[in-house]
Symmetry: C2
Subunit: 349 residues, 2 copies
């Protein structure tokens, strides 16, 4: 295994024993104190310090706009936590729109009794993640609900980016014959969270792949690669993303299972839990669907970035049947791949 | 009382008995069906129908950006519900930035077991409110948490608007001598929610003032009124807003209690519950702090709009002491007004 040591449990032992109270959400003095002592100093942005109802920002062109709420359990897990997820998840959605991520909003829903140290740790993670991703946390909101009416901490982020793709990026732009590139190995985020939640004692600690992916995407676009669609492989995994693209585009998508990288420890954990790695969530992996003429160049560009060093072409887009995704197995037999059904991996992000 | 009849209770009786399941948040087939049958048809926006990770929008100038989460209990109350709140609350925050509201994102956190009819009703409210406010719901996210880990439904909205104010609007622009205008009577939203939550049998039904206020704000700006600061009077009420402005501006603010409109039924309900109307939340009221030369014109403009027909000048900004807000009572005695302390009115929005 690699990476630093990290604490596994949540809630954390608190330094001062202070916890979130209902008054912290009341819009009065206690809330002002929480914002002044915990939130604004952590995020440290001039727009937040204006203490106004919103931020004023410059986009300078067409804007990408996206949002996600984060309800992951546990709040902290190997390779990340709810704070890193909340920043990278939304930043990555902006990148998937062919945009350079610029600004984030943060909405916190706190459960009464949450240790303030847990909150401090989560907002510190958000700040660090925002710096790593080159975005500013410019506006926010904090609500408190009574004990038993939330699960410690829920986070919503919304994001704005500047669209840099010269043509629309999305399922509607996908063409038959396009090449399908996967940015790296799959399944780590889902397995890291499951292992932490269920206290599964795998031999190695699987760390989430949680990471910002805008840098390689922007390099693809700057290099003039004809990027038709981008999709990060979060809830529902590679399979659900591929099916949704195929259904929306009205085309078929075929890929080679042997070409999809899955680490041995992830594959073993999936087998143990009866999960298909194609359905397991990732937080730093994406599909890039590009013009076939650009595939080698695109893979080479992605491999130049650490976050997508494992990029590989895995398949192609075909005329039809519309919405069908197939995967060629090791014996050369095609199987139909569908979206995740049921609830194998709840609250994974 | 005025206004239509409305059901008071929540959760609602369901038509088909269907409820939210964990799989509705799993990123797979069940979630796709929920989005395709409940969410996208209700919001009916071309950007949502692209089924991509975000929306691409045009702002065409400096952008205002804001967010709020909504955890109001009960979900439905006289004069509004969590859906109307989630749209108007964020639209109003954009207006308070001197901006024309344009686009909203919606993040839903659903509790397992929530009747789908409750969700349908909330999203229908959001759609209607968005139409009334002239904004588009262009991107969203849905998460599900297990039974007992949320309280039915939490909603986050973030919003983008185009800044139309010619100069920065906010506490930093407030000057000594500025006039303080209140847009109408206060206390209705907080009392409406409290009455619905506690089943208080007041003689009249108090309806929330929940409404979009961008129209009068934009008219002020278009008319060239020197608007220095705008602030909607949500959590913490008029008192907390005034104190926060005074503290941030480093100035004092003085107003006349007799000039502040409070309906008789609201005043009676506040007295019964031991609440000061100055601390009670509103969802369609704001302060406009303007150059004193413009006060009469500003009040006249506001009165031309139904949502601010009760606008009145209530006081002025003074040199100091910094952060002090005072209120002159009926006997001519000034009292110091502070932010709400404690937790008188939890989960009011």
């Amino acid at each position: 295994m690699s990476g630093p040591e990290f604490p596994m449990s949540c809630p954390l032992p608190t330094g001062d024993g202070e916890t979130v109270q209902m008054a912290h959400g009341g819009g009065g003095r206690a809330m002002a104190r929480l914002l002044d002592t915990v939130i604004r100093p952590a995020f440290d942005d001039a727009e937040l310090d204006r203490r106004h109802d919103g931020a004023v920002v410059e986009v300078g062109g067409p804007a990408a706009f996206t949002t996600d709420s984060y309800v992951v359990r546990p709040l902290f897990f190997p390779g990340g936590d709810i704070g890193t997820l909340a920043v990278y998840g939304t930043v990555n959605d902006l990148a998937m729109c062919g945009a350079r991520p610029l600004y984030l909003s943060v909405g916190l829903i706190l459960e009464e009794g949450l240790p303030l140290d847990t909150l401090r740790r989560a907002v510190a993670s958000m700040r660090d993640a925002a710096r790593a991703a080159g975005v500013r946390l410019v506006t926010g909101d904090t609500k408190v609900v009574d004990r038993g009416k939330a699960d410690g901490l829920f986070v919503n982020t919304a994001g704005i980016g500047r669209v840099v793709a010269p043509a629309p990026v999305g399922p509607a732009a996908v063409r038959s014959g396009d090449a399908v590139i996967l940015s790296g190995d799959i399944g780590r985020h889902g397995m890291a969270v499951m292992a932490a939640r269920e206290n599964l004692g795998f031999e190695t600690v699987i760390e989430s792949d949680c990471a910002p992916v805008a840098a390689p995407v922007l390099t693809l676009l700057e290099a003039g690669v004809a990027v038709h669609c981008l999709r990060d492989l979060t809830r529902g995994g590679l399979a659900s993303a591929a099916v949704e693209i195929a259904e929306t585009a009205g085309l078929a998508l075929a890929f080679d299972e042997a070409a999809v990288p899955v680490r041995d420890d992830v594959a073993a954990a999936c087998e143990l839990l009866g999960l298909d790695p194609l359905h397991v969530a990732n937080e730093g992996r994406f599909l890039a669907i590009v013009d076939p003429a650009d595939v080698d160049r695109a893979v080479a560009i992605l491999r130049d970035h650490p976050v997508s060093a494992g990029a590989v072409a895995i398949g192609e887009v075909r005329d039809g049947p519309a919405g069908r995704v197939t995967c060629r197995g090791p014996l050369g037999v095609d199987r139909v791949v569908d979206m995740l059904s049921g609830e194998q991996l709840p609250r994974i992000c």
